[in-house]
Amino acid sequence: MWGAWCARCHAQDGTGKIDEPTVSVQPMDFTDCKLTSAEPDADWERAIAKGGPGVGLSPLMPGFEDSLTAEQIAGFVAHMRGFCKESGWPSGNTNFPRPIVTEKAFPENEFLILPSVSHEREWELAGVYERRLGKRSMVEFEVPVQHGGVDEIAIAFKHAVHASGFNIVSLGLETAFFRDTTVFEPFISAGSMLRDWYLQGQFKVELPADRAKADRAIVYNAYVGRDTSLAPTTWTLGVELNGENHELALTPQVRKGITGTGALAASIGVMLPLNEREEQGVRWVGYLLWEFLEPLRARK
C-alpha cells in the first residue's frame, strides 16, 4: 500500500521528491541512511499512528492510528527501512537516551553542556561536541571549565563494533590532556533494551602517561531507566551506579525532551555517595543536549 497511500507525498522511492507535490513541506528523504538510521522504529511508528505532531513534525502528515492496526504500521516501518540501501549503519533502535555520566554506545551528532555543582558550591561546566564519522564512529571534543579555569581538554573516539536488534557495543579511547600529563582512557560502552527498560554500561581504565602526576583509575558506570511515554517529549526516569576505584555513588536522574522532536533535551540528577562520603560529597549533575543533525533541521 506504500504506492497507493504514502507515495502520494513520500514518493515511490521514499525520497519525498515528486513532480506535483500536494503538500507544502518537503518530506524527509528516507534513502538518506545518515539521517534515517539514527531514528528508532518506535518514533516512526508513532509518526504514522499519531501523524507529524506526534513526533514534533508537520501536521500535514496525518495519523493512521484509527485506520491501521499496530501490526500494519510496523509493516510500513519495515518497508521504509528498506529505502536505506547501505548496510552497516547501526540501528536507531539502539540509540538510547543518554545517561548523565555513562558514555552511551551509539555514535551521535550533539552539542552538550554538562553542569555539575557540589554541596560546597564547587562547580564545573563541561562543553562537549560530538560528531559522527562514517557509519559507526564518532569523535568527541570536551572542554571542562572549573572556577579555577580550564585544567584539561579531552578528545575521544569511539566505534560501534556490534549493533543488532536492541543491543550495541562500542569501543573507544578518550585522551585527556592536562597541563602536566596526558591520560589515556580506553573504554567499552554497551547498551541494551529489556522490555521497556534501557540498560547501559561503561567500563573505562585511566592510564596516565606520567604516573607521578596522576593515578591510574578504574571507572565503571551502569544505568537503568525507562520512558514514561512514547512521545519524544517524554520524561525518562533512570538511575546510575557510578564507580571509580572503590568509590561508589548512586545517581537518580530524570530526563525530558524539550522540543517536539526531542532534539533538545535536558537531564538532571543528584550523585549520592554510597561510601567515602566525606571524600565524594553530594553533587548535582545534569546536561542540556542539542542533537544538531536531527532529521527535520537537516532537511534540505
Binding site: 502520494r8 503538500v23 500535514l60 502528515m61 496525518p62 495519523g63 493512521f64 485506520s67
Partner: protein, 232 residues
C-alpha cells in the same frame, strides 16, 4: 386488555409531553412565545468555472465544481452562515465530515465547541482530513485510506475550522464552531433561525470568501422577522 393498557400509556405520555413543553416555555420565556428570523443572502459576485482534475480521476472525475462561491442566476448565495450572538443553542445532531467524490459534502457545517465530529469517506482513495483552526493550530489530521471508516474526534474550541485534504489540495470544507444559534443558507440563499426569544440582537454573517457587515435585528414574539444580507 393489553391493547387498552398500551393506549392508556401512550395517552399518558402524550399528555406529559404537552405539559412539559408548556412548563418549559413558561419557565424560560414566561408566557410570551418566541419568534424567528428568516432571510436571504445575495451577492453580486459570480461563481467560478469548474476546474480540471489532474489526479485520481477514476474516483474524482475529470472535472469538479469550484464551490468557493455557490451562487444562482438571481445572485442567491449558498453556504453562508448567519450567527445570532447571544442566543445559545444546545447540542444538535451529529456532524459528519464526509469525503465524497473528492469533495467535502456538505462543504459548510455548524457545530458546538468540543463536539465530537465523525470523519468518513465514500471514496476508494487515500483522503486525509486536516481540521485547521483559525488560530493556525491543527485540531486533528486523520488519514482515510479506505472507504467506510468512521473516525470521531473532538472539534475543539469555538472559531472557524478549515478542512483540508493533503492528497487533494482543492478539497475545502468549513466548520463554524459556535454555541450561538446559527444557520446556513441553502441553494436559494434562504435561511431560518427558529425559536428565538424576543429581543434585539446582532446578526453576523460568515462566508469563506465574501464579506458582509453585521446587522442589528429585533425579534418579536410569534412571527418571523425578515432580514437580508448582500455580500461582497
Amino acid at each position: 386488555m393489553g391493547r387498552i393498557l398500551a393506549l392508556g400509556i401512550l395517552g399518558t405520555l402524550a399528555c406529559a409531553q404537552v405539559v412539559a413543553a408548556h412548563t418549559f416555555a413558561e419557565d424560560r420565556f414566561g408566557v410570551q412565545a418566541n419568534g424567528s428570523i428568516t432571510g436571504t443572502i445575495t451577492t453580486s459576485a459570480k461563481g467560478t468555472a469548474p476546474f480540471r482534475v489532474t489526479i485520481d480521476q477514476t474516483v474524482c472525475g475529470n472535472e469538479l465544481p469550484d464551490e468557493a462561491i455557490v451562487v444562482d442566476a438571481q445572485g442567491h448565495l449558498a453556504n453562508a452562515v448567519v450567527i445570532l450572538t447571544g442566543v445559545k443553542r444546545s447540542a444538535a445532531g451529529e456532524t459528519v465530515l464526509m469525503n465524497e467524490k473528492c469533495r467535502f459534502a456538505p462543504r459548510v457545517q455548524v457545530t458546538r465547541p468540543n463536539a465530537n465530529v465523525r470523519t468518513t469517506s465514500k471514496d476508494p482513495v487515500l483522503h486525509t482530513t486536516q481540521a485547521l483552526h483559525e488560530s493556525g493550530r491543527t485540531v486533528f489530521n486523520v488519514a482515510l485510506p479506505m472507504p467506510g471508516l468512521n473516525i470521531s474526534k473532538p472539534i475543539g474550541a469555538a472559531g472557524t475550522v478549515r478542512l483540508n485534504c493533503n492528497t487533494h489540495p482543492w478539497m475545502r470544507g468549513w466548520v463554524i464552531v459556535t454555541d450561538d444559534a446559527a444557520a446556513i443558507s441553502g441553494a436559494d440563499g434562504k435561511f431560518t433561525l427558529d425559536n428565538i426569544p424576543p429581543g434585539t440582537y446582532e446578526l453576523r454573517v460568515w462566508h469563506e470568501s465574501l464579506k458582509g457587515a453585521p446587522q442589528k435585528i429585533t425579534v418579536v414574539a410569534g412571527k418571523p422577522t425578515e432580514i437580508s444580507f448582500q455580500l461582497k
